[in-house]
């Protein structure tokens, strides 16, 4: 590790005091820490405080426990908490075993076309949740859904209802839950030392036995880590329940928080108390996850092993059929039906005479609101990507390359936003921008949304840049210092050049994240800074599904283009 700091380049020559150099570095790192801590911790503290503030908006502050009483006793709020846990648990139970199987097939076997299939999961990982949800409504709507109408001829009635608990679970599994796990687990499985498995085969183990007794246990810490990440992500769910849950009055905590905040008399105390409860539920997960991540270095050996793919034999085609089916469900069907939906006169009504039209596209593309939102989205996504890249790379650099005393703390704090559900973060930022006088002029501007994207993208961005820097090794930088380059020249000509693909990929991911972001900004967006994702939500609320679908497809195209570019730039799921 090098003692060089981002400020070290300024040290000129003999005569400059050594002490001042050390101080400059410490001051720089402390400023970074303070800013990050303020952005991440302050909103959370604010939420906790607000949960005890019971006076209605506009009245002088008064403190009490009414919010907490409501969160813990009102049946509606209690059931929202219970629903959150139920949905989370069922999602994980279904998606984890399937994801482990798929990751194993993709990484360790001779499955035909496994590289293409892996790419399909990567692309599916980038699909906007709301778009996929709308596609599945087309297929599984209890009355008009295509699958249901097709099966009605056979069964006499459609068996599926997407507006149900299982409908919500299904959409979750095929959107976030499954793909994110596959994307994270596949590289980890690939990096496992094949000798563990080979030793088992030599000792007489069959494929199945080896997979169950050797591969999965060896990978257990990674699987646990991914499970915990998945659990935390799924507790933040918002859009799916907002669209599918409302019609049958099914609330999870995030939609309940939203509901409490957008009613005529907003109940901030109850909403924030609910939010604090969820944050508390996240805490143990955070610690177990960090513990598992740390342990895992010792259990999975990564490096240059020649991994002979395992022969599936006659199972090859069965496995391929399974994966193709999953790919169609997570990628093919959502994309196809999202497109199809945009050309319908009446969303979901396939059986009316001449159901197709181009009017939706014409209407939306002519709409000034759409054009404004599209411009907002592009500005938002580009700004967020640029700012985030700058901030995230500085954080990662301080953590990896300096000996700043509190770099571990910075590491942990930069990771915390992962555990803060988007809707809570949005709420906290809302309080921050409305509550602090100096910041109030920013409300309604793009800056607010950029900051939200910056914070929510921080965990992933910092982690990826960190691992990139670690792989880079410090000797490449030191060699440049020795041959006569200053810190700044070294940073420009060596670090930035070598990190360029990683940084571009992180930029693309942040870009996509900002473009499809909903939960974080649902409470922050106003008519002036409204991006496409919120415009889409508004269209759905007005039951204009056909036009919402067009907007959904536009967001989907932006996301998929970003995913393609990131993949092309060489980010091969080094996430996590």
């Amino acid at each position: 590790m090098t003692p060089t700091s981002p400020t070290g380049g300024r040290v000129r020559a003999i005569g400059l005091r050594r002490a001042s150099r050390v101080e400059a570095q410490t001051i720089f790192c402390s400023v970074v820490l303070a800013v990050v801590a303020f952005c991440v911790l302050f909103p959370v503290v604010l939420v906790v405080l607000e949960s005890f503030q019971v006076a209605p908006p506009g009245q002088p502050a008064a403190y009490g426990l009414d919010g907490w009483r409501a969160a813990l006793s009102e049946p509606g709020l209690r059931s929202a908490l219970l629903n959150t846990l139920k949905v989370t648990l069922v999602r994980q139970l279904i998606s984890l075993p399937l994801a482990v199987l798929i990751a194993w097939l993709l990484a360790r076997t001779d499955l035909p076309g496994r590289h293409w299939l892996e790419f399909a999961f990567w692309a599916a990982f980038f699909l906007p949740t709301l778009t996929v949800t709308l596609s599945w409504i087309l297929l599984l709507d209890p009355e008009y859904g295509l699958v249901n109408t097709a099966l009605t001829r056979v069964l006499g009635k459609g068996p599926f209802d997407i507006y149900s608990f299982w409908g919500i679970v299904w959409v979750h599994v095929v959107t976030g839950s499954l793909t994110v796990k596959v994307v994270l687990l596949t590289p980890a499985f690939r990096n496992m030392n094949a000798a563990f498995e080979e030793a088992s085969y030599v000792a007489g183990g069959t494929t199945l036995r080896t997979a169950l007794r050797i591969t999965v246990p060896v990978m257990a810490p990674v699987i646990l880590s991914v499970l915990l990440l998945g659990t935390m992500v799924s507790m933040q769910t918002f859009e799916v329940e907002q669209v599918l849950g409302l019609p049958f009055r099914f609330f999870v905590f995030s939609t309940m928080v939203y509901d409490l905040l957008v009613t005529r008399v907003p109940r901030y105390d109850a909403a924030t108390a609910l939010a604090v409860l969820i944050l508390l539920a996240m805490l143990p997960l955070v610690f177990v996850q960090q513990w598992a991540t740390r342990r895992r270095r010792y259990t999975t050996v990564t490096g240059q092993f020649h991994n002979q793919p395992h022969r599936l034999g006659r199972w090859r085609w069965a496995a391929l059929a399974l994966l193709l089916a999953v790919t169609v469900i997570v990628l093919g069907a959502p994309v196809a039906f999202a497109l199809l939906g945009t050309f319908m006169k009446l969303f979901g009504f396939f059986h009316i005479a001449d159901p197709w039209t181009l009017d939706n596209w014409k209407n939306v593309l002519k709409d000034d609101l759409f054009l404004g939102s599209l411009r907002n989205t592009l500005v938002l996504a580009v700004c967020t990507a640029v700012v985030a890249l700058l901030v995230h790379s500085v954080i990662a650099y301080v953590i990896v390359r300096t000996r700043y005393a509190a770099r571990r703390v910075l590491d942990t704090i930069s990771w915390l936003p992962f555990t803060v559900p988007g809707i809570i973060l949005g709420l906290a930022l809302l309080w921050l921008f409305l509550g602090v006088g100096a910041l109030r002029p920013l409300y309604g501007t793009m800056a607010v949304l950029v900051i939200a994207g910056l914070i929510s993208g921080m965990p992933l961005g910092v982690q990826i840049i960190k691992s990139g820097l670690l792989q880079l090794g410090s000797e490449l930088e030191e060699a440049s210092r020795i041959v006569g380059a200053s810190w700044w020249t070294t940073y420009r000509r060596i670090v930035l050049r070598l990190m360029a693909p990683t940084l571009m990929a992180v930029g693309m991911i942040t870009f996509v994240g900002a473009a499809r972001n909903i939960g974080n900004i649902a409470l922050l967006a106003t008519s002036q800074n409204r991006p496409l994702s919120i415009f889409q939500l508004d269209l759905i609320a007005q039951r204009k599904f056909e036009e919402a679908m067009v907007v959904a497809c536009v967001i989907m195209f932006i996301s998929l283009a970003g995913a393609l570019v990131a993949r092309f730039l060489g980010l091969r799921g080094s996430v996590g």
Partner: protein
């Protein structure tokens, strides 16, 4: 007159509370290959990094030619890029995003050398190590040996005051390592560049260096020419770290200036052997001592009885290693030592042999 290129004056470096380098003082003269040798964790690489400016000392002063580059009492520190040093890293640190040419040209560019001159000097230095013609090749497509040569070119092209080598051969296979060792020495003699070399491999250190500093626990144990160190180690650590040593235990029986007679103990009880006092050792009659001798200095003959300064032993196991035999020999029925036997004679396991220990080559150390 010899000119001091590098001077370390009581330099220390702490990692936490642990001293990695502990009061090291050294002087390196122009044109020599000076080696820091020691086991891993002895502080040799940290010393090199202190010289390079990649670490800051916690005590002491480092002077390069006539410039103080780091001094704790004077509170000065010169950044690495202002020290005009060359360095070859253990991993070579060849920049993967540059071609062979760009890697070597980079330091010249930083020094504002004009384009035509850059081309000329890069070509010349690549020619020197046999990489001519590979200018446009991507640096990542080179073999291990080529990468090492390239790293050397990059470090030499701007004629640094001092070339630092951090275990540069450790990533090469045995054959290539020997070849590079010879090449490096020839190159150094041709260019006359001063070299500070860090290694844990004693053969590398002994064969390549003009002078060697053996380090242990952050301190310099002994500095000297390779042959001096090998033949006259100043401490038990240096003696055991360099080469093989046969060690026998006893008690001083007679003492006459440098000559010592030692009554053997344990398996050899009853025998008396003569040797010389180790440098700096204070002995008196009755002191418990160790007799040390290099295995190759023991003259082994097929023999009857012990005669003069000699012992009798039995070959327990015989290993033919190509250029010689290695034999495990028991002395007095139990003590097992390693000996090197000539290929010129035929040996067999179970054979009784006589081991003559020339008194001049036996050193006596306090136990």
């Amino acid at each position: 007159m010899a000119l001091t290129v590098l001077r370390l004056d009581g330099v220390s470096k702490l990692f936490g509370a642990l001293p990695a380098v502990d009061g090291v003082s050294l002087e390196i003269e122009r044109g020599e290959i000076f080696t820091l040798l020691g086991p891993s964790g002895c502080g040799k690489t940290t010393t090199l990094r202190l010289v390079a400016g990649l670490e800051q000392p916690d005590a002491g002063e480092i002077t390069l030619r006539d410039r103080i580059v780091a001094s704790v009492p004077r509170r000065t520190f010169l950044a690495p890029h202002r020290r005009n040093l060359g360095m070859v890293f253990q991993s070579y640190a060849i920049w993967p995003h540059m071609t062979v040419f760009e890697n070597v040209a980079y330091p010249l560019e930083l020094r504002g050398v004009r384009r035509a001159a850059v081309r000329e000097r890069v070509a010349a230095v690549l020619e020197l190590v046999g990489l001519a013609g590979l200018e446009t090749r991507a640096a990542t497509l080179l073999s291990g040996g080529q990468m090492q040569r390239l790293a050397l070119c990059r470090a030499l092209v701007y004629e640094p005051d001092l070339l630092l080598l951090d275990e540069p051969f450790s990533n090469l296979d045995a054959k290539l390592r020997e070849q590079m060792r010879v090449e490096l020495k020839l190159l150094q003699r041709r260019l006359g560049v001063t070299v500070l070399f860090v290694t844990h491999d004693q053969i590398e250190a002994l064969s390549l260096s003009d002078r060697v500093a053996v380090m242990n626990g952050g301190r310099v144990e002994q500095v000297g020419a390779p042959r001096d160190l090998y033949e006259r180690p100043a401490s038990a650590f240096v003696r055991d770290f360099l080469g093989q040593t046969v060690i026998l235990r006893g008690v001083v029986k007679e003492l006459a200036s440098e000559d010592v007679a030692v009554a053997m103990e344990g398996a050899l009880a009853g025998a008396t052997l003569r040797g010389r006092t180790a440098p700096g050792a204070a002995l008196s009659v009755g002191t418990a001592v160790q007799l040390a001798i290099r295995p190759e200095d023991i003259e082994v003959t097929t023999a009857g009885d012990a005669d003069g300064n000699a012992l009798v032993g039995t070959i327990e196991a015989l290993l033919f290693v190509g250029d010689r035999y290695e034999a495990r020999v028991t002395l007095g029925g139990e003590l097992l030592i390693l000996l090197l036997l000539s290929r010129a004679r035929t040996w067999r396991e179970g054979q009784r042999v006589q081991l003559a220990l020339p008194p001049d080559l036996v050193s006596v150390w306090p136990a």
